[in-house]
């Protein structure tokens, strides 16, 4: 395994994953995952298709319980938290699902408003204003009263992001943000992610295998190897590209070895 988080310079740990084993019944997907995400990181979970990236993310947001190990947010143990404490922690997270995950029976403004209604004391008119603001931030001003099915896939992703940001979360999770987007939209989304990190001061965790995104936005990462059934590298993706000795990590970061045959 290559060195731990390389961000250094006294960064404060935000998320700590310790000895995590992910398993379905007796089938072990990944074991011994240990990594730290610092405050303000853009942390990339990378690995080939089927390596359990999304599953790791689902563990981190509590949709799947770990077979073994703990996940800490700050000094709070998320895995062992009581339901109320866990709700408290969840409230500080925002998640953008792979398919957007917008509630299809509600308009975009209602999607965002739901959260504000539940967790703030704002009045209806104020909620509407905040929802419009969030939509404006992702470039969807004027689409407040559209239903998710009436807008394109890229717009759904952005609307999903607006909803994820509704409560100004401390951690933002992105599950394959650029899947199904054209190169320009996915580039814009990358920029948006960086801007949000900078302006909100949020920590960002991204599941992706888009190399362009990985190098543009990531400053910390973990590489999952499905054959070793564990993580085989972690740290800044650019550092990994330069120094990581693991051939699989190198192949991944250099777009694989399949090219060599034809050369």
């Amino acid at each position: 395994m290559v060195g731990q988080a390389l961000t250094g310079n006294g960064a404060k740990p935000h998320i700590v994953v310790r000895d995590l084993t992910m398993a379905f019944g007796s089938f072990v997907l990944m074991r011994d995952l240990n990594f730290t995400v610092n405050h303000g990181d853009v942390f990339i979970i990378m690995g080939g298709s089927g390596s359990g990236k999304s599953t790791l993310l689902r563990h981190m947001i509590g949709l799947i319980e770990p077979a073994k190990g703990d996940i800490f947010y700050g000094d709070k143990n998320f895995t062992e938290a009581e339901p109320e404490q866990r709700q408290e922690l969840l409230r500080r997270m925002g998640v953008l699902f792979q398919t957007g995950g917008l509630w299809s029976s509600m308009t975009l403004a209602e999607n965002i408003g739901m959260l504000l209604e539940e967790y703030t004391d704002l009045r209806a008119a104020e909620i509407r204003e905040v929802a419009s603001l969030k939509l404006a931030l992702v470039g969807l001003k004027g689409f407040e009263d559209y239903y998710p099915s009436q807008i394109s896939g890229g717009m759904q992703k952005r609307a999903g992001l607006a909803r994820a940001m509704a409560l100004d979360p401390e951690v933002l999770f992105f599950d394959e943000p650029s899947a199904g987007l054209d190169p320009i939209s996915s580039r814009l989304l990358d920029e948006l992610i960086l801007e949000l990190r900078d302006s909100l001061g949020a920590t960002v965790v991204v599941v992706t295998h888009e190399l362009a995104s990985i190098f543009t936005i990531g400053n910390n990462s973990v590489f999952l190897d499905p054959e070793a059934k564990t993580m085989t590298a972690s740290g800044d993706p650019k550092e990994l590209l330069a120094h990581c000795p693991d051939p699989k990590v190198q192949a991944f970061l250099r777009r694989g070895e399949i090219r060599r045959i034809h050369e």
Partner: protein, 377 residues
């Protein structure tokens, strides 16, 4: 086809086996078996290598590749070098590509015939697992229901009203049709028998009591299981696939409160109304036969019906329909939330919701019959 692909073999002087590929090879004509090659390899004493001659090969497609991959595997197993020079360049490249990525260890599924006992064991565990899930769901729903009674449940009122419209008003046409026909059928069956001893007037009693006590609730239940139960399962199943349910959970909203509760409430509220309506339409269906075939007057028919049925009969039916409503909603939502991650899983969920719903209704109907008999209702 005269020009179909063929194989022939030449034993070269230096101990290599040359496989000649001749003619036009096409998947449509089938893939030649490697048995001949195996035979040749086995019959040759010392084999130094395998080579190919494709000069007479006029065209090729995946059939050649499939054949060659098998030959290559055979050579690898026996440690015989395979010379690919004689193959067309395209075939060589594709072969390289097919062998570039080694098979992932453990990726290949073991296809084993499970023994009879093993299958019984697996399905027993499956039944145990699904009963456990069902009990957990019922338990959580009970907790949610108490939250509702304490006015602490969170759901969107607009969702509830929309659902009430969907499973109330919009179900009226189909309920009308079926109930009317059930009334007509009951009257027919009764009329044939009762006419024999001139007791036609009792058709009104028969239809009235049957509709009020059993058929009204039962028929609405079955219609709603097929119509609304399936819709619930498909809606929730799709929401599962599109991660909307996950989004509820991570936002700290309970899917049971937001999705299941309004559906259960909509059916609890609408089923009694639909059942009353069905009772009424069924009686009219009976009256149409009574008046049209048995020469009774409308007044006599309705007078007889009113004498025959009691409020207890009617409320018994209405109460049952409410219970059926709960069963339909719960089985629809349970199957929807258990839905897997594909479009076919949504179809399975809808099918399973209807089956579960109807089975639950029939079982409940039987239990009610026994309980009502004991209580003397």
């Amino acid at each position: 086809m005269s020009d179909q692909g063929r194989l022939s073999f030449i034993q070269a002087q230096d101990g290599t086996l040359v496989i000649r590929l001749v003619g036009a090879w096409s998947l449509r004509a089938g893939i030649p078996s490697t048995a001949d090659v195996q035979g040749q390899v086995a019959s040759t004493g010392i084999l130094r290598g395998v080579a190919f001659d494709s000069r007479e090969l006029t065209s090729w497609d995946s059939s050649v590749l499939t054949f060659l991959v098998e030959v290559s595997e055979l050579c690898r197993q026996r440690g015989i070098p395979m010379d690919r020079e004689g193959l067309p360049v395209g075939v060589q490249k594709l072969l390289d590509l097919a062998e570039a990525v080694p098979e992932r260890k453990g990726a290949r599924r073991e296809v084993t015939e499970a023994s009879f006992l093993e299958r019984i064991g697996t399905s027993t565990l499956g039944v145990a697992g699904s009963s456990k899930e069902m009990l957990a769901f019922l338990g959580e729903m009970t907790v949610t229901f108490f939250a509702l009674l304490r006015l602490k449940a969170r759901y969107r009122a607009s969702d509830l009203f929309l659902l009430i419209q969907q499973c109330g008003a919009q179900a009226l046409p189909i309920v009308t049709l079926i109930s009317f026909l059930v009334g007509v059928i009951l009257a027919f069956v009764g009329a044939v028998q009762l006419k024999q001893f001139g007791a036609q007037i009792y058709v009104a009693d028969l239809v009235g009591i049957a509709m009020m006590r059993e058929m009204g609730a039962m028929m609405t239940g079955i219609i709603m299981a097929g119509r609304t139960g399936a819709a619930f399962a498909a809606q929730l199943g799709t929401m599962k696939v599109t991660q909307e349910v996950d989004a509820f959970t991570t936002a700290g909203f309970s899917p049971l409160e937001f999705l299941v509760l309004p559906r259960v409430m909509a059916l609890i509220l609408m089923m009694p109304l639909l059942c009353l309506y069905s009772d009424f339409v069924g009686v009219i269906g009976g009256a149409v036969i009574g008046v049209g075939m048995l020469d009774l007057s409308w007044t006599t028919y309705f007078h007889e019906t009113a004498n025959a049925i009691s409020l207890t009969d009617m409320f018994g039916g209405v109460f049952k329909s409410s219970v059926y409503g709960v069963l339909i909603a719960l089985s629809g939502c349970l199957r929807g939330l258990q839905c897997g991650n594909s479009s076919s899983a949504v179809g399975d969920a809808a099918t399973s919701a209807v089956v579960t719903g109807i089975v639950a209704i029939v079982v409940a109907c039987g239990l009610f019959a026994v309980v009502f008999y004991i209580l003397g209702i």
